[in-house]
């Protein structure tokens, strides 16, 4: 396995340097130590470790699902710990942090591009560092100096891992309904009692400690999301000097057995149901992060970046699936082209069949479009942190509206890419002897976790596009129109596609207004998923137009970008037209449907 089967480095270089101008970030103070050379070195290293350490264990992690060993702890195939050690030894965990944490502070854009290699190689293994770094980011942003020192630093140094403990068995999408309790103690800590579900990385033997970030309710907190606070609950208690003490009262209550994504242990955890912990009181010891009642806001700091990175994971699975299908289609021979009647002629590689090329081109349009969208959002995260005042505000506002799309669009369409990768392989693709069926199973999680499609649709239509009296939508439209303006000026194919995209942008703006015309959220939100899909395709069409404007020359790479852009504008963008018709009609079919007539 080489990194060229995971992602196309040529494509990454194009997106980072020819499109997003990533080397320009080195002109900003935080990244002044850097240059394209150091960025490239990080990509090289990531590709190498991903291909040599992560990819070889990907099937093993699927076949040997995590299980509970005789000592009550989760057992993984040994290769997982070795792969993660290579990741840590390479310095990846601290890469986006500054020298105060031993990091080299690379831009998030570059770190995301590097991380995509690991997701492509083994999305299950990659979830451990992903959750760890998301947790560390949250603590650095919202924790006290002491919390950062005791809980974030060991994560950044790659010694510990972390989790996000949000869902409970009875409360998944509806976080306001969690019931885990946090009882304040005289010493300023809290004791937690409750059960958390779907906790990825909730238990394992990969590190001495696990830092759980847990949402819970304090006594007398108001009902709903306003009553939720965030707590650090370490698996093993940590002394003031950072030394490890006794086990906290966090117990592994069960493992979830998933269709895919099996490299990531997924657990049910009980907090505060065991024996009394040191000091005599019962419950799991927790440390409040930020203020009481502000837990969800803090968690969303983590969730928003996690959503962009979940989208990137969907892209990575789609991308490596595409490269596998492409290699197969060039090797496998079958039949003759249409009209080739000579049965004694040799069979041709299946890539010679137009329908196979259609399936490959569709995958290319989905995965390269998804990668570009993901890296565009990563760049916005850099701009939000290190741009000038205006750039920071714009990046923040644009990210708000793009995040539900950056999460959901790849989760839908790069899963479709994996479906097509199987189809290109025919019967072989349905077997575990090939890689693509696992990508498909792994990717099926992405439309569910970190907020389902339905939740993303409500977020986009119910919050993001209407925020600031519609400022979110206006910013999006303005951003897209700037590109179509450039495309019209450029002429040729780009101008022709701008002529297709502008009316779609108009319709997006128009139906948003129509849906909210009488301010009845019920009618608007009943159409939120269709709206999300239509908006997603408009945004990715824009991303393709951006790429088309950025690409130059006439080599195979450039022509490939043009072919995929053409595919997207001819085969994909038109799918939004009937969706907009439906939205413009403020359809009430699902809203008014009497559930009794189903069945």
């Amino acid at each position: 396995m080489t990194s060229s089967q995971l992602l196309s480095r040529r494509d990454l270089d194009f997106l980072l340097y020819e499109w997003l101008g990533t080397e320009g970030l080195a002109a900003r103070a935080p990244f002044a130590e850097h240059s394209r050379d150091t960025f490239d070195a990080m990509l090289d290293l990531a590709g190498e470790i991903a291909a040599e350490r992560f990819a070889p264990i990907n099937k093993l992690l699927d076949a040997e699902e995590p299980r509970i060993g005789p000592d009550g702890r989760v057992v993984h195939p040994a290769g997982l710990a070795e792969a993660l050690r290579a990741y840590t030894d390479s310095g990846m965990p601290s890469a986006t942090f500054g020298p105060e944490f031993g990091g080299m502070r690379v831009p998030f854009t570059v770190a995301q591009a590097a991380f995509a290699y690991f997701q492509a190689a083994s999305v299950g293994a990659s979830a451990y560092p992903l959750l760890a770094s998301a947790g560390a980011n949250l603590l650095v942003a919202h924790g006290t100096a002491d919390q950062i020192e005791r809980f974030a630093r060991p994560i950044i140094e790659g010694r510990w891992y972390g989790t996000m403990c949000l869902s409970e068995p009875q409360a998944g999408s509806s976080l306001g309904d969690i019931t885990t309790r946090a009882v304040p103690q005289d010493d300023g800590t809290y004791r937690l009692f409750g059960t958390k579900m779907w906790i990825s990385g909730g238990d394992h033997g990969l590190s001495e400690n696990i830092v759980h970030l847990v949402l819970a309710r304090t006594p007398d907190a108001p009902a709903g999301v306003k009553g939720i606070s965030l707590f650090i609950v370490p698996k093993v208690l940590v002394g003031p000097d950072g030394s490890l003490g006794e086990r906290n009262d966090v117990a592994l209550a069960g493992l979830n057995h998933k269709m895919g994504y099996r490299g990531t242990t997924n657990t049910l955890l009980n907090f505060g149901e065991g024996q009394a912990t040191p000091g005599g009181a019962a419950g799991a010891v927790g440390h409040l992060v930020g203020e009481e009642g502000r837990g969800l806001a803090c968690m969303f700091h983590m969730m928003n970046e996690a959503r962009v990175t979940v989208g990137l994971g969907a892209v990575a699975l789609g991308y490596t699936g595409y490269l596998h299908a492409l290699a197969y289609a060039r090797e496998r021979t079958q039949g003759r082209p249409a009209g080739g009647k000579d049965a004694s002629a040799p069979m041709v590689p299946i890539i010679d069949h137009p329908d196979v090329r259609r399936m490959l081109l569709a995958q290319k349009a989905y995965v390269e479009g998804g990668l570009a969208l993901s890296l565009y959002c990563a760049r916005l995260i850099d701009d939000r942190a290190s741009g000038d005042e205006a750039a920071r505000r714009r990046a923040h506002d644009l990210l708000e509206v793009l995040t539900p799309i950056a999460k959901s669009w790849p989760s839908q369409w790069c899963l479709t890419a994996n479906d097509l990768a199987i189809q290109v392989h025919g019967g072989y693709g349905y077997t575990r002897d090939y890689a693509v069926e696992q990508f498909y199973r792994d990717n099926r999680l992405n439309p569910i976790h970190e907020g389902t499609h339905g939740v993303q649709g409500l977020d986009l239509l119910g919050r993001k596009v209407v925020a600031g009296s519609g400022a979110g939508l206006r910013l999006l439209v303005e951003t897209l129109r700037a590109t179509t303006g450039r495309a019209r000026a450029a002429g040729g194919e780009a101008a022709a596609y701008a002529g297709l995209l502008d009316p779609a942008i108009d319709r997006l703006a128009e139906v948003t207004g129509v849906l909210w015309a009488d301010g009845d959220p019920a009618v608007a939100l009943a159409n939120a998923s269709v709206y999300l899909e239509a908006a997603g395709h408009v945004v990715v069409a824009w991303i393709w137009l951006e790429q088309l404007l950025a690409v130059s020359g006439n080599d195979a790479f450039a022509e490939g970008k043009r072919a995929a852009a053409r595919y997207f504008f001819l085969y994909e963008l038109p799918k939004t037209s009937p969706q907009f018709d439906l939205l413009a009609a403020r359809d009430r079919t699902t809203l008014d449907l009497d559930p009794a007539v189903l069945g």
Copy 2:
């Protein structure tokens, strides 16, 4: 488990009696012994055995994949043999055959409806009787009296099973390229040498014998499909009196490890690679069916019905998934409806969320539309066999054009239904504790086997609609128009939908002409998959209009049919509009694409 979680009996009754007038078949001579009562009894029995014997082992067959035991034979969980014994004991294997085989000759329509229960309960287990009955049908149609007696009768009596041996490792979709050789012997038999891939049920301990139906080439046969002949190759040799003799030279060479559908053993078989068989000659003993060089035509007798039944299997998986999702949506509580701001109000069943209802209604439209299409085709198979002269011809011709759609449409959209069933379940749906993830994995095979989507598209656009100078298309259009005519006369909703369907029918006819305008098969066939999808949606819209015209009253069932019809016309049929635009443009994107630019 009860049969009501597999299929809706109310829906079956509606389709069979209120729509297709199935009891009218009892007026035809072959079915004169029958009445609605006997049909109902068969459906009752099928539902009961499927629910009580097949469904309980479905997860087990998935978890304990077939493996090769120490004796070199395939080992299954014991429950499989017991379930199949119950199937045999109920008389199902002979149900469509006459009293000369101990059967009760029920119409194919009723047998298919009954069989769908088994597919819904365990599609993996159901494949054994499906392959057996397809093989027996072929032999009864094309075999000699002796072959029928020696090889078909034991299958019909439920004592043996059968296989279809078409593909080889190097030849799947391209059957003309198979290389298995059949060498004639002085005694009139043949000896076969070669390797067959993807053979479902190719080895097992479920019966004393397995009748392989094998495509092979005789010496000096012309290249391509015209050189292919069909042979009976029993696993165990059969004497003139039907007694079992020695093992034939058919060896299990390996098992395929699939993503799903694991209850069905899938094998690689070697013919004639072992020791010499009795009589001294090497090779596997085979008996020619029909004439040399006519093998593919004979096999298509079996394949066409198998394709309709593969479509039915996709429907059955989608249908039971829908019923599971519906039950879950009624039980699981989460959140509050849009606009419900009172966080202390109790959570509502998720079916109260419009987006969940959207996902359920979509599933209903797909699976009930698919079931209606499948049973309509089954009825055509009955009409082809037992109608008057004109009805037979019409049924034959209409079946020709509908078969690729009846195979591919449910394989695509009832898989989508399974995807939505997972989504309704949220994280739980992604775990193996629930049933729906298996349905999704199982169903993913259906777009591949018995001819991929790509192959079905070529069949529809390249052969079926152009057959007889376009007679296939004309018959389809005429059939659909007859319904829209009735709908316009009926007025109301039906007339409104006819107003949507007629233009789609027009466009289907129009683009068919445009695609073939200059007779260049390359341009036409490069668009075959898009054509297949568009034609499929037009046909299923027609099927929904048919159902809408057939349903009466205002009870929940009738209103449910109306809601699903509405959904299909508002949300689904409009998807064809951009597809027709693309087809009308005779798009050359995939045809002209230089494979070198991919990657």
